[in-house]
Amino acid sequence: MAAEGDDLNAFVTRESIDPTGEGPLSGVRVAVKDNISTEGVRTTCGSNMLADYVPPYDATVVERLRAAGATIVGKTNMDEFGMGTTTETSAFGPTQNPTAPGRVPGGSSGGSAAAVAAGEADLALGTDTGGSIRCPAAFCGVVGIKPTYGLVSRYGLVAYANSLEQIGPIAPTVEEAAQLLEVLSGHDERDGTTREPEDGTDYASAADGDVDGLTVGVPTELLEGADKGIVETFWDALNDLEAQGAETVEVSLPSVETAVQAYYVIAMSEASSNLARFDGVRYGRSGGYDGNWNETFARSREEGFGAEVKRRVLLGTYALSAGYHDKYYAKAQDARAWVKRDFDETFAEVDVVASPTMPVPPFEMGESLDDPLQMYLADANTVPVNLANLPAISVPAGESDGLPVGLQLVAPAFGEHTLVRAGSALA
């Protein structure tokens, strides 16, 4: 089902959407992840369930892009409903990694990162629930920013796990990512969780690469599980920052040891509730089956959802069900609060926290599909950021065995200026 003339399969739908105004993005081609609503242009979330869904309105971020002069060039491929780390769970087939042929582009915003890396778009929007912007940015050798929770409006984003996810930019350089973030960010009355940051949203001017006096904390826990070659490339990049005046110190975040568990319990629980809306009546596939509401509903969802979505909806239902709520969901909320506290204490000592974005190089195509738990473990370094509602950036740090390696920097809430400043010293 790959779109015509698209070797990478980075796009589910290629469609040019004109700007509505002129501004900083005039003449810039932007690709939009296919879980972000575009009026009149189908928005599939990488799912058969929404293969024909055409939103009647634009997401706030799409309105802002168009008003700033951007031309939207299409809707990018993604793991179904954002559930995956490789873009292989898409109902529209996998996307190729233009930087590492034969490898996955990462996920879930794999189409967006691949489109930018291949020059099929100048910039792209991704969404990040547990690393879905930073992972593909790292795997494709581009820059991705997961904004502070509440910086960018989620109005018009098809929800997967509301308490964790943010829309953010993917770009070839930190400065371009910062320019795009400027356009996206700020209060939106249609998303009550958004707010205007106190230091403003003038991010592009922070891309001056000035890291003199910056203190970088390196949590030992996030290096332990990483591949040797990746750790070496990571330290080379940190040495580069030190040569420019930054100081690195070892820090400890013991709570990250249960972050992946907490993340998956919370994300699956929220998903089981959010995806209940796909019933084949209001939207989604209707098989025209016989039987009552529940029977018809269950059959429409059997047909419309892929395996990973079913897995997460079922496990989320399980984690919230009578007798298990306290064991899984309540404990996951404790683990989340613990991660937040750990970061708060660490940021009393350091300006940013650094780690490899991904502990492993891009998987070979098909490698991780049979073992969901192994795929979840690859998110170890990215999910703590979403649990703590913090901003993070992934910048290219170099290569290991010819494959791209990403370096992740995390800052205190609404510390995007710091991330842009530090990141721009590297890319």
Binding site: D52, Y53, V54, P56, Y57, E189, G192, E257, T258, Q261, A262, Y264, V265, S272, A276, D279, G280, V281, R282, Y283, G284, R285, S286, Y289, G291, N292, W293, N294, E295, T296, F297, A298, R299, R301, E302, F305, A307, K310, R311, V313, L314, L315, T317, Y318, A319, S321, K327, Y328, K331, A332, Q333, D334, A335, A337, W338, K340, R341, P372, L373, Y376
Partner: protein, 91 residues
């Protein structure tokens, strides 16, 4: 506590979630869920942490504003009748 997830348990959860599964999926999920739930057991060791009371409700005036038209809201429904969604029998 027995962590092993059996086929019956998978079928029960699938019925709660309103997702039909074929026999092959039930068997595969039972095996995978056992692994994943065993991994989640590490949450038992998490200390009790005070949740910060840092969140405030943000209120806005309740004013009527323009939204989607009825036609727009119904445009993605597989079946409609007289301006309503049309679904199967509930009972």
């Amino acid at each position: 506590m027995d962590r092993r997830v059996d086929d019956e348990e998978v079928r029960h959860v699938a019925s709660l979630a309103r997702v039909d599964l074929d026999d092959e999926e039930v068997e595969l999920f039972a095996e995978q869920f056992a692994d994943i739930l065993e991994y989640f057991d590490a949450l038992d060791e998490v200390p009790e942490v005070a949740h910060e009371g840092e969140l405030d409700n943000v209120m806005r005036p309740d004013e009527v504003s323009e939204g989607l038209t009825q036609e727009e809201a119904l445009q993605n429904a597989p079946e409609t009748e007289d301006g309503f969604f049309k679904g199967p029998k509930v009972g």
